[in-house]
Subunit: 273 residues, 2 copies
């Protein structure tokens, strides 16, 4: 039984460990697979090390952008590269505001200082940007541009939404996060519901992390393959094996799955089967 | 690289997740195995949920017995049964005192209120006691006996040391904890050093958890089998498979391995290979 007295911070940490432990999740690090430079332990350690930033978020005070930067800074102390950058982009406002409604209110109050802090966090990661992006994280002029245009963090997310489904969650009111949480509650308790929810989201929208790395055709192919798994025409293990072999890791769906688990835990869904 | 600025609390939590994730560890829950009622997720969740008690320990104030009770209470909210009771018995004084020397000083200051709180924690778990123990956790008279004899928590550990290698760590100055930490530093960074250290401790002393469940003969047999693995006469996977099949889980060695990882992390050992 998930204890509803569990704090929002613990729920966020549980969401991170439950997502990475669930298997088989096609293409991502999970209980059965590491990547060459990023292992299960990196994701688990990141969930532990994110605690101070999540505690900061839970106060419901302070600047969202700055808190995201703290989460990235504190979890970058390991050498496994980016683990939870996208997840923090969702979890920090969700923990700050407790639920989706609260997160949207918190997001509405961001300003250009949040946008600048977020860009500094972004620069600490190895996350890719589309070539030719006007707000290139590697261009020192970008911070000046953000300040000159007085862009807040929501403006940044609107700028990124076309190419990034995590940013899109901010813009569209956490639609996929909400859908994932509802799916968990429909599917019932336990690990296998996380896997099924992951596959369902994967079969719903092409993963933008996969698009950035392999192009839209491969992302759509993965979406259709996830449908095949859901319809019983293919095993999850088989798709997992293919994704691993081809380096297709739906990392943005994984970030949203974490946010969905966080919401579902807060609404009484139990991770224990 | 393990960041030495990592707090003692984070180190304790990292030790818990690194121990359970390491594989193949003969007979225990690990990345490759669940037990029917206790899964990898239960151990990971326990590491997250132990945080408030570990924070309490890190202040170096308050009563050790009470803090152990809080750790057990807060992690018993899941349905996976006992996960880290023995580990808390080691980690709480180690976090309280920061290192082994500090833990021994903290232990020296326990009194009968710690002993009573510890027994209340014990009663919350499903951990076995040898039949006919004078201080039976299921006998309500035991608490009266502890108070009448003015036994402190060290007295309790001395009482238990013959049959429990975790209690023995208190009595003998954390000898195996120290040996495990030294082994990790000798073996070098990474997951495989945890597995090798686990096997080395398993090959050194019969696991008292196995003795309680299966008798001394089986525990000694497991000890010799661990030597065979270390000497290359048998694979760790093969011994793991046999232990799982026979229900032999060296849980007390696992508790000590957690304490050893905690100490080694504090002395600069890195979990990343």
């Amino acid at each position: 039984m998930t204890d509803l007295r569990t704090s929002v911070v613990e729920r966020a940490q549980l969401a991170m460990i439950l997502e990475v432990a669930a298997y088989p999740k096609p293409g991502n690090v999970d209980r059965c697979h590491d990547f060459p430079d990023t292992t299960l332990e990196h994701f688990l350690a990141s969930a532990i090390l994110a605690r101070p930033a999540l505690e900061e978020a839970a106060t419901g005070k302070g600047r969202i952008g700055e808190i995201i930067k703290h989460a990235v800074r504190d979890t970058n102390t390991h050498g496994g590269g980016n683990t939870h950058f996208g997840a923090f982009l969702l979890l920090v406002p969700l923990v700050y505001g407790k639920d989706i409604q609260g997160a949207l209110e918190a997001i509405a109050h961001t300003d250009s200082s949040d946008a600048v802090a977020f860009y500094k966090a972004f620069a600490m990661t190895a996350v890719r940007m589309p070539a030719g992006d006007e707000l290139d994280v590697n261009d020192p002029h970008t911070l000046t541009l953000i300040r000159e245009r007085d862009m807040n963090l929501m403006d940044i997310m609107q700028h990124s939404a076309a190419n990034d489904m995590v940013a899109r969650e901010w813009v569209n009111g956490f639609v996929l996060t909400r859908r994932g949480a509802d799916l968990l509650k429909e599917l019932g308790p336990g690990r296998q519901s996380i896997v099924r929810m992951f596959l369902t989201l994967l079969a719903t929208e092409p993963d933008t992390f996969v698009i950035k790395k392999h192009g839209l055709a491969v992302a759509n192919e993965t979406l259709l393959a996830a449908r095949d798994v859901l319809d019983g025409r293919r095993s999850a293990e088989d798709l997992d094996e293919e994704c691993i072999r081809r380096g297709i890791n739906p990392g943005s769906i994984a970030d949203i799955v974490i946010a969905s688990i966080y919401i579902a835990l807060g609404e009484g869904w139990s991770w224990e089967s």
